[in-house]
Point group: C2
Chain length 218, copies 2
């Protein structure tokens, strides 16, 4: 029984890795579409989000069936419950990548971020991609150094998020209301994306070290 | 054993009701603070959010211990899993109420929404409060008519959310960049708050009717 359970846990882990790789693709394409005003790529991200949703839903069913059939307790149970939460967060990261792609599509053929903010969003987008890649490797390898790196990248993203507001609220901001609305939402999406990655990374770390936090997805 | 389990499920339900009532208080005070620029009330919402977080965390622990000790299967297992998800969504609703309160605090003694948008935000805030109250009653009574009412209120909130963007992007918008950023974020928070309520209401409905959706919190 124990061996079957271990094999099922590996299956859960593999599926989380699979979903996380689709999230990497989504955020890579979404930020490229956003930075380069590539409407075809934006449409692709939007169309492919349902794949992430379906895989996350399947994974939830698998986790529930493992709980019902294997009746795990203690640490094993927490692993399965945490898989449900990671699945929900990955699915939400896919949604956010879709929101970023939607902004690119709305403004096409214009770029969402202009002139003074191009550099900031380019860096934020690249950091979100790195965070997603590190998260995928973290889930696959459980190399916990990656969890700390994700947290560091998130700190930098938070700084950039603040700098967007400072730019928009400064005397020299020459953007229209459309620009202001767009960059406000875009910055929030970029920041929330990384927050979810930090939340998942914490769960992987707590599970690996045996230290558990009961708190939900923040 | 079955009787013990039923009693534990009632305990889970009672705790969900307790948390949902705190969410009602949080959104009531947050929207009042927001509409009336009441900084003391805003501070109170911000300070009290940790209570919601702690109760949600305790509820998660209870749900996990029920799974470990009672080993529920089939529908019973889904009820407990859904409680974990409802707890995460309620906790997130508390966070969003806190974000609305933070906006009020940042702009004090000014109001966040001005002039032409005062009425829209007043209606959105009142709808969020109604949605939270209906959700709390829904969890308590399982009166499924409330789930449909919540969905209807959410539709109206979505309309108001769109109208905020229309106002901000219109030729006649005279707000500063600060106003534009604030109302963009505020409108998004009001809209997401109700989205989470709809997500929870769906779970209650599916559980009550026996029809289950595997999808995570959207």
């Amino acid at each position: 029984m124990r061996e079957v359970f271990q094999q099922e846990l590996r299956e859960v882990q593999e599926r989380l890795v699979e979903i996380s790789r689709l999230v990497v693709v989504a955020i890579t394409n979404a930020t490229t579409a956003f930075n380069e005003s590539d409407v075809a790529l934006a449409e692709q991200v939007i169309a492919e989000d349902s794949k992430i949703d379906a895989l996350a839903s399947d994974l939830d069913e698998l986790a529930i069936s493992i709980m019902a059939l294997q009746q795990p307790v203690a640490r094993d149970l927490r692993i399965v419950v945490s898989a449900l939460r990671m699945s929900a967060s990955l699915e939400r990261m896919g949604d956010i990548a879709e929101h970023i792609a939607q902004l690119a599509r709305y403004r096409y053929p214009d770029k969402v971020a202009k002139d003074s903010l191009l550099g900031v969003f380019s860096e934020m987008g690249a950091l979100d991609v790195e965070v997603a890649e590190m998260l995928s490797r973290l889930i696959e390898t459980e190399d916990l150094a990656l969890a700390d790196e994700i947290r560091d990248k998130d700190d930098r993203i938070d700084e950039l998020h603040v700098s967007v507001f400072e730019a928009v609220l400064s005397e020299t901001w020459a953007g229209t209301s459309v620009n202001t609305v767009d960059v406000t939402l875009a910055s929030r999406y970029h920041e929330r994306f990384a927050d979810h990655a930090v939340s998942i990374a914490k769960k992987v770390k707590y599970l690996a070290t045996g230290e558990w936090t009961g708190s939900g997805v923040r």
